[in-house]
């Protein structure tokens, strides 16, 4: 392969990375320019152009794809500014799939396949977002979402009421809960707990955690907002509750939670999924604490 062959090969590789309409024109010009450069190099060296000389010239010119990018810049599939969020969503998907697989392994889910699908979906979504921004610049501007406080008092009041009504009441007395909520329209006999489960340490522990969660929201209401200790207490309580619900799923799978076998059959995957969801919430809270931004007090605070 002589110097001309090397240049010809390079020019073809550059042209292949360009849109079809530009290829011949750029290739023709690039070949002429590289020929000029090579002739100048050969003249400076006092000998004819050779392969090594051509390779040195092209090395300085850059990879064919890079050179083609300078002639015709294509938009990035994922906007570089979105890389951070893409990685966060990728990691969140990986953790969610791992937790789901660990909490409900019996349904034969292929985690690797699921993760690849998740990754593919993310690439498509981010590519569409990038395309949309380029197509309609400024169409979706930034808007302020919320202040520094994630759970102000009014949200804490709602969380306290919700926790007392839903998980605490439902867990403490499932039959009464269904009777009250559905105004005795649904049969409750299937929700009768086995004696062993009713007196088990697992149930006591779950009940304790649910009550502590309600107490944590009550403390948030009293304090007028979250504090560091309530946030970390929330992480610990949600993590513990998620694991306990996973254990409930295992027990229900063996028919040991409800007296009715059908109820156990229905409840087992539900316990697993709800446990996985609660555990993921705990992981999300840990992430938020890790990524928490604590700048200097705002100007308003300093004036007070």
């Amino acid at each position: 392969m002589n110097a001309n062959d090397v240049i010809e090969s390079y020019v073809c590789d550059v042209a292949r990375c360009l849109p079809r309409g530009k290829r011949n024109d750029v290739a023709f010009e690039l070949r002429a320019l590289l020929g000029d450069e090579l002739a100048a190099k050969a003249q400076a060296a006092g000998r004819g152009p050779d392969r090594a000389m051509a390779m040195a010239l092209l090395k300085g010119f850059g990879r064919p794809a890079e050179v083609a990018g300078r002639y015709h810049q294509r938009p990035a599939l994922i906007d570089p500014a979105d890389t951070h969020h893409f990685l966060i969503w990728t990691l969140a998907g990986a953790v969610s799939i791992a937790v789901l697989s660990a909490m409900s392994p019996a349904d034969g889910r292929d985690s690797g396949d699921l993760f690849l699908k998740w990754l593919g979906a993310l690439v498509i979504v981010f590519a569409i977002i990038g395309w949309w921004r380029r197509r309609y610049p400024g169409a979706v501007g930034w808007r302020p979402k919320h202040g520094r406080e994630r759970m102000p008092r009014r949200y804490a009041v709602l969380a306290l009421i919700g926790t007392l009504v839903f998980p605490v009441f439902m867990y403490a007395a499932p039959q009464t809960f269904v009777r009250v909520v559905f105004l005795s329209a649904l049969p409750t006999s299937g929700l009768e707990l086995t004696q062993a489960f009713g007196k088990s340490g697992l149930r006591t522990a779950a009940m304790t955690i649910l009550i502590l969660l309600a107490a944590m929201y009550a403390a948030t209401v009293v304090q007028g907002g979250e504090r560091s200790w309530t946030r970390w207490a929330g992480v610990a309580l949600h993590g513990g509750l998620g694991l306990l619900l996973g254990a409930h799923g295992g027990l229900a799978g063996r028919g040991l939670v409800f007296v009715s076998p059908q109820a156990n059959q229905v409840a087992a995957p539900v316990f697993g999924l709800v446990g996985a969801f609660v555990l993921l919430c705990a992981f999300y809270d840990i992430y938020r604490e890790w990524a928490r931004i604590s700048p200097a007090p705002a100007l308003d605070d300093r004036r007070n």
């Binding site: 023709f28 002429a32 320019l33 000029d36 100048a40 300085g60 010119f61 850059g62 050179v67 002639y71």
Partner: protein, 111 residues
């Protein structure tokens, strides 16, 4: 330290590259001759940067080009068109303003 200074210098030169190239294209030039002219004028530019830049300036409507195939090898000659002349004049004014501003800033910083 030297590497960081070098990167800053490249960044600084990148900002004036278009103006420098336009200033040399009042007379028709082909890629290699323009690169030589720039180097002789004290602003050497890598070939991989200059040649695509000529195409981009042409696509922006600032340059006109034509192939000369009468003499071997065939070469594409670029020159300023009317819009390019206007842009060059505007950029030249902006450059002089910028130099005045920078001189003032640098003078104050050295006091």
């Amino acid at each position: 330290m030297a590497e960081r200074d070098n990167a800053s210098l490249i960044e600084l030169r990148r900002g004036v590259l278009v103006l420098a190239v336009l200033s040399r294209l009042r007379t028709p030039q082909y890629g290699y001759s323009l690169r030589q002219a720039m180097a002789e004028g004290g602003m050497p530019i890598e070939e991989g940067t200059l040649y695509p830049l000529l195409r981009r300036l042409e696509a922006q409507g600032l340059l006109a080009s034509e192939w000369n195939i009468e003499n071997a090898p065939p070469r594409r000659y670029y020159r300023l068109n009317e819009e390019g002349e206007r842009t060059l004049a505007n950029l030249t004014d902006a450059w002089h303003d910028q130099v005045r501003v920078m001189d003032r800033l640098l003078e104050r910083s050295s006091q």
